[in-house]
């Protein structure tokens, strides 16, 4: 289906398409800002100031981008196998909850506790992915719908467990994790960012050099041919969704251990949904996930300044992001624009 560009021409083409889509998204966002009675330039200025105005805001942007790198990689990973991991949001919650729970264990050493929390979080979230894959392979249930349903179920389940754990009915967060489990960092940026970057390189190498990645790609390109050529399609699907889920779990763990230090029901902040957008804009290319996640991080953090400076909802950035994804997924848009431009030009020439 969607394959990373193989040569320079493809890259150029992809870059052009993303640029056009980005311009359209900014225009649509601008229309909403105008409709709300504000100046689009003031709004976009506020977003940029909010994201880059100071070191603190910059570090926030980086922190906002980090879970998006994990979730973007996660979605892209499954997408290579032709699977829509729509359950990422739920998997992030699973990772976050397990990380908060492991983080509260009375183990003195962070060197032990932190890796343990990450691994168990990944395992739990990976299990959610495996459940989706099993339902798909065994019963043919679409992973798109089971993914959404599992998100709702997990959301309610963890909120419930959190309250039981905290011991008060009105609790809005879990008990805090141990100090040993806090992620180390400098200048407000914790080590979760470095783990995210390491994952990017790992996934890049995996896709480039391993047979497993080839099988996933073959199943994604054409599961029927793959079956006829002797690939165990069900196994490949389990693998792709399992690993995808595990990576989404890392996003939740990194949020809990590095920023909130407890489980909160809205811990994900929509990272799961945005991860889908990241992967689609990055065309499932692991290296491209980083700049796209950063861009979305800018929009997310800058969005809060919209509220402060212009009393506009930060949801404007959601509109921009989703318009961007829609325009990118619209395969016939660029050819259509090219055709319109051509007619305009020939008309101009005719007029002259």
């Amino acid at each position: 289906m969607m394959r990373g560009g193989k040569n320079r021409e493809d890259w150029k083409h992809a870059a052009l398409e993303v640029s056009i889509a980005f311009i359209i998204a900014l225009l649509v966002g601008g229309v909403f800002v105008l409709a709300a009675g504000r100046s689009p330039f003031a709004a976009y200025g506020a977003i940029l100031r909010g994201a880059f105005g100071s070191w603190i805001s910059f570090s926030r942007t980086i922190l906002a981008a980090t879970p998006l790198v994990f979730t973007g990689l996660a979605f892209a990973f499954a997408m290579r196998g032709g699977l829509f991991n729509i359950g990422i949001e739920g998997q992030v919650l699973a990772g976050a909850f397990v990380a908060a729970w492991v983080g509260s264990w009375p183990v003195g050493s962070g060197l032990l506790l932190i890796p343990l929390a990450f691994i168990l979080a990944a395992a739990a979230a990976g299990a959610v992915g495996l459940v989706m894959a099993l339902l798909r392979v065994r019963f043919g249930a679409s992973e798109v719908i089971t993914g959404i349903m599992l998100f709702h179920i997990l959301n309610i389940l963890f909120e419930w467990l959190m309250r039981v754990w905290a011991g008060t009915p009105g609790a809005y967060k879990s008990p805090p994790i141990a100090a040993a489990a806090h992620l180390p960092g400098v200048g407000g940026i914790h080590i979760g960012c470095a783990i995210a970057l390491a994952m990017v390189i790992l996934v890049f190498l995996y896709e480039r050099y391993t047979s497993a990645a080839f099988k996933v790609r073959a199943v994604g390109a054409d599961s029927n041919v793959s079956r006829y050529q002797g690939i165990n399609v069900g196994k490949v699907m389990l693998f792709a969704l399992g690993v995808s889920g595990a990576m989404a779990g890392l996003a939740g763990a990194s949020r809990v251990l590095g920023e909130s230090f407890a489980y909160l029901p809205d811990i994900s902040g929509g990272a799961g949904w945005l991860g889908i957008a990241v992967a689609l804009v990055a065309r499932n290319n692991p290296l491209a996930v980083v700049p796209v996640a950063l861009l979305f991080g800018v929009l997310k953090v800058g969005g809060f300044w919209l509220e402060q400076e212009l009393a506009l909802s930060s949801d404007l950035t959601l509109i921009i992001t989703m318009t961007l994804v829609l325009t990118i997924s619209a395969r016939r848009l660029t050819p259509m624009l090219a055709r319109i431009l051509k007619t305009l030009r020939s008309q101009e020439r005719g007029a002259a």
Binding site: A36, A141, L150, I156, L312, L318, A330, R331
Partner: protein
């Protein structure tokens, strides 16, 4: 006891109503061959349109029309993306939901300067139900939903448009050979889808509640898709599936009175949806040209 049972039945009907509207919307779209995972977004936009127009005009009836128009316009955007720009239908559907959430949240904040919930508005006309001591009201949209099932069935079975719609979903090339454009048919099918989801959204915001909340649809668009699959893409069976899910939800609610944690019944419709998907996927047959051109 009668009161309890009546309450359960009315609750099930009310729970099924938005599902029926959304599932019928999905049916129109998918029987024409367009995958529609954007029902949730169509409903959300409809729910918002209903409250906004009611708020501005003071008339819930105008609000209902506003809901239908808002959702229909949104559905046409989806149609343009899928049919003319050839966006991936699964991706576009999911993303349309998120776009709807973004637009509604943005406008709520701008118009009422609060996040998430709108101020209360007047509700749509309700029908009072009295039986002995039992007194309840149900929204006019509940019976409308059941009328809609018949109407959709009639359109599909008995009209030229319905025939073309079914052919577009089964084999668009057969339709082309007879001189009818499947693209045009699908545009109208998505228009119907938007109108129906608009009614479903209006039920949520001005029929059941009296305000808009950004989380008002709560996955119902996807539960509706499961009901659609369970109903094998047939109107009456799909409505029956919606009723079953609505009833199970109400029954779960009633169980909380017997010491079952509230969370369990809140999870119930989602768990049920997964079970339904797994059980019925084997026995049903989707439209042959679903997602194809």
């Amino acid at each position: 006891m009668t009161a309890v049972i009546l309450g359960l039945i009315l609750g099930a009907l009310a729970g099924a109503t938005p599902l029926i509207f959304a599932a019928l919307g999905g049916l129109c779209s998918e029987r024409a061959g367009v995958i529609n995972l954007a029902l949730e977004g169509f409903m959300l936009v409809g729910a918002f349109g209903a409250v906004l127009v009611t708020y501005v005009t003071g008339s819930p009836l105008a609000g209902l029309i506003g809901a239908v128009i808002a959702a229909a316009v949104f559905a046409l955007v989806y149609a343009f993306l899928c049919l003319d720009l050839r966006a991936d239908q699964i991706v576009a559907g999911i993303v349309m939901n998120l776009l709807a959430a973004g637009i509604c949240a943005f406008l709520v904040k701008r118009i009422w300067n609060i996040s998430q919930n709108s101020p209360p508005v007047e509700k749509l006309f309700s029908i009072p139900i009295a039986f002995g001591d039992f007194r309840r009201e149900i929204s006019i949209l509940v019976p409308v939903a059941f009328v809609a099932v018949i109407v959709v069935w009639f359109i599909l079975r008995r009209t030229v448009f319905g025939l073309n719609l079914r052919a577009a979903g089964e084999d668009p090339s057969a339709l082309v050979a007879t001189g009818v454009s499947p693209r045009r048919v699908r545009y109208f099918a998505l228009l119907c889808s938007g109108i129906l989801c608009g009614l479903g959204g209006a039920f949520l915001s001005i029929g059941y509640l009296n305000q808009f909340m950004t989380t008002i649809t709560h996955g119902r668009g996807f539960i509706a898709i499961a009901a659609l699959i369970m109903g094998n893409w047939r109107p009456v069976r799909t409505a029956a599936a919606c009723l079953l899910i609505g009833a199970a939800y109400e029954a779960g609610y009633a169980l909380t009175g017997f010491g079952v944690p509230e969370e369990v019944w809140r999870m119930l419709p989602y768990v049920l949806t997964i079970v339904v998907l797994c059980v019925f996927n084997i026995a049903v047959r989707p439209p042959r040209a679903l997602g194809r051109f």
